[in-house]
Symmetry: C2
Subunit: 450 residues, 2 copies
């Protein structure tokens, strides 16, 4: 059945209403692949196939459609059937989805859901974006601590199909306070002693996150402790939900992309590049470009103060090296700031390392500056009126690169120290600052040597 | 027992040889936390505590030590005891570790391991770095397809403690060919029918990766299919091992950091920033800085060709705007290249989108260029001899920014098309190219208008 030309057969099944065949199609392959085979269908055709699928398969396939198809199915198909689908979706995903569809339709669908599901959706919706609460799911295996291993396994067998993950079982008291956690592995190992109670088996030193914690720090905790899922609790340590490994992977990708965009001075996009509309995109880029533009304007005014130097006939050659001086400083600064920003993001670097970092970057600037200085001198001899005057270039390059590496490394640390996002001290921003300093250094070295 | 001042007590236990207390200490907390409490101990002190721990805890705590401590324990402590520890470590991690210690000691330790473990290590070591084979682990639950659910659960109960993950059970034939996969969830749900065989329960449309596949593409597959682990097979589809979710998270972090470093024109570091020695660091940065330096030198020669223009007294003011023109082009180019590179990395963009991307970036360049052009004209009027001459600035800015956005977006696509890493078309590289084009545009616009 694996066939890239599957659309005609699917359309034929739809036209002739072969429900059983459509059900089988939905069950035959991995849901991700099934979703891919249905990519070519319109959203109403898709729904005609999908509504024949079994419960579990229906939601698994649906969650792998792209966002547009999901939204148009929710908005356009039979409300009652769609409400049925919504009850089956993962609790975290359906909240995101309902947030994206037409508000009126969303309200109608909410009305059609059982009261408990509706309350759950409204509760999750209340958490601010990018917090643990907004990412968590509430379909978890909660078990009472008085259960035995045998009872727990039976209970789990009953619930397993509806749960997003069964790999950790959360043990709670009567009022939902988290008391411990038992892994499926421990439960299976303990099968030979079915009378053991969960209370004796469970781990009590549990890693939890608060529902208001930022999603990036949640992802870091999960990675650090190699967890499959992490419980989310309220300040009274009541279990609210869990965040599972797949959500963590999504968060990490999202945050990595955001960091890269910030480093290049683009305000993080909420959607993929091609879906972001042009006005939003110009806004997210334009803000920074304008700020950087005004920073760069300062170079014009800085240069203006040195007209007495490069305005002289014997010093006009200095102009030729302006772009070179500026870009060398900017590039070394970008390298330093990026290394520090990514080191801070992976926690390889902490603020208290600043003195070590400063010494390293100073050494790096001296080393790389000397290297480029030598190259620079060779070229300057060709373009400058005398070998003595040509010395301006290597001296400037050395100073500018030291300035680039030290500013580039310390500025993100300073931002971190001030509680700001170090990635805001982006490459272009560092380069902009180094540009101005570079011009001032260049012209003063020239003044001293001419 | 949770106490940051735990070191005195630990040292006291070591001095008085209280083995039972040390065993209890190792069992009391989450292994990550236990490892943290031992950070202050020397590696020989650490080992004196750790050797008292139970098997499972011993390896769990050990794997959370930092690399230096792990290596010095392996190199300096009793060979026989250390060999015992090695047999307990995750199969993928111990191979990495043995690759880092002194070769002679490594060979001695290998001799002390049981033959089967030794063969396993040598087999894993043979895979090239950053391939699926090098990341996978070989301690997996392989089950015969003729087993029933009841038998499988019992078998699993026996093996559970030694396996890295029990969340998927891999069903193989007599010669290890992968036939299907059963999740722990399915097994638990099927407990009510213990006579069902695995052959009827298992999924047969399995997502696998080849052992030679690149780790980045493995991570993408795992993320796409939301898997907890992915089986690694040879070309005959024999099951070699699995890659688990925690390794995938590590790979994703590593790759994200590498991408960020490439974008800033630093050859990816193999270690964290502070551990990389200065010479390696200068090499990884110096290579690119030198290449970029020679690219930037072209700007000097390009400018040299226009001495007739900026050498004129009435045109000397043009020099003031050189840094501004260059940095505006470079910044818009960096933004575009970063958006395209990160879009390619997350698969939001594919090469065939190039025409759409080109049109978007053209529009973006015109829009942002006009905006900055207006700002630029206002400032140019102040510094230029006449409002007419000042027009050079907005016209140049518009053209340079269009050039920046279009080159910045198309160059990474071109690299991808040529089979190269698009992240090599780094921000400074794009900026370097746009710098030269910027100078040429600027001087020609000036020539036309003066």
């Amino acid at each position: 059945m694996i066939n890239t030309l599957f659309l005609p057969e699917l359309r034929d099944m739809i036209a002739t209403g072969k429900k059983e065949e459509m059900r089988e199609f939905c069950a035959a392959l991995h849901p991700v692949r099934t979703a891919e085979f249905m990519e070519g269908l319109s959203s109403s055709e898709t729904w005609q196939v999908l509504r024949c699928a079994d419960n579990e398969q229906q939601q698994e396939i649906f969650r792998h459609f792209d966002g547009d198809k999901q939204i148009s199915i929710l908005e356009q198909e039979d409300r009652q059937e769609v409400a049925g689908l919504i009850t089956k979706l993962a609790h975290d995903e359906r909240v995101d989805l309902l947030g994206e569809i037409d508000e009126e339709i969303g309200a109608e669908l909410l009305e059609l859901l059982p009261a408990e599901e509706r309350r759950d959706i409204l509760r999750l919706k209340a958490f601010p974006e990018e917090t643990a609460g907004a990412v968590m799911t509430t379909d978890i295996a909660k078990l009472d601590e008085s259960l035995t291993v045998g009872e727990a396994l039976q209970e789990l067998g009953r619930q397993a199909e509806d749960l997003e993950t069964i790999y950790y079982l959360y043990v709670v008291d009567k009022t939902d306070h988290l008391r411990g956690v038992v892994s499926a592995r421990q439960l299976v190992s303990a099968m030979v002693h079915p009378e053991t109670t969960l209370a004796t088996l469970m781990e009590t030193d549990i890693i939890v996150v608060d529902s208001m914690e930022d999603q990036e720090s949640v992802a870091q905790t999960v990675a650090r402790f190699d967890l499959l899922a992490i419980p989310v609790v309220d300040p009274e340590r009541r279990l609210l939900g869990i965040i599972t490994h797949d959500d963590v992977i999504d968060v990490m990708r999202e945050e990595a992309t955001e960091d890269v965009q910030r480093i290049a001075a683009v305000n993080p996009l909420n959607q993929s590049y091609l879906r972001t509309n042009l006005l939003t995109l110009s806004w997210k880029r334009g803000v920074w470009l304008t700020i950087l533009f005004f920073a760069a304007l300062l170079t014009a005014f800085a240069l203006d103060g040195y007209r007495d130097i490069f305005g002289r006939v014997d010093a006009a050659w200095l102009v030729l090296f302006i772009p070179l001086v500026i870009s060398s400083g900017g590039n070394s600064g970008s390298q330093s700031s990026t290394l520090v920003i990514s080191g801070l993001a992976t926690k390889d670097i902490v603020i208290s390392d600043w003195w070590r970092i400063f010494r390293r970057e100073l050494a790096m600037g001296l080393l790389l500056g000397s290297l480029l200085g030598i190259f620079g001198y060779i070229c300057a001899v060709i373009l400058a009126p005398s070998p003595m005057a040509a010395l301006i270039i290597p001296i400037t390059l050395l100073l500018v690169m030291v300035c680039g590496t030290t500013c580039g490394s310390l500025l993100p640390l300073l931002f971190q120290r001030l509680g700001l996002d170090p990635a805001m001290m982006s490459n272009p921003f560092v380069a902009g600052i180094v540009d101005i300093l570079g011009i001032i250094i260049y012209m003063n070295v020239a003044r001293a040597l001419i």
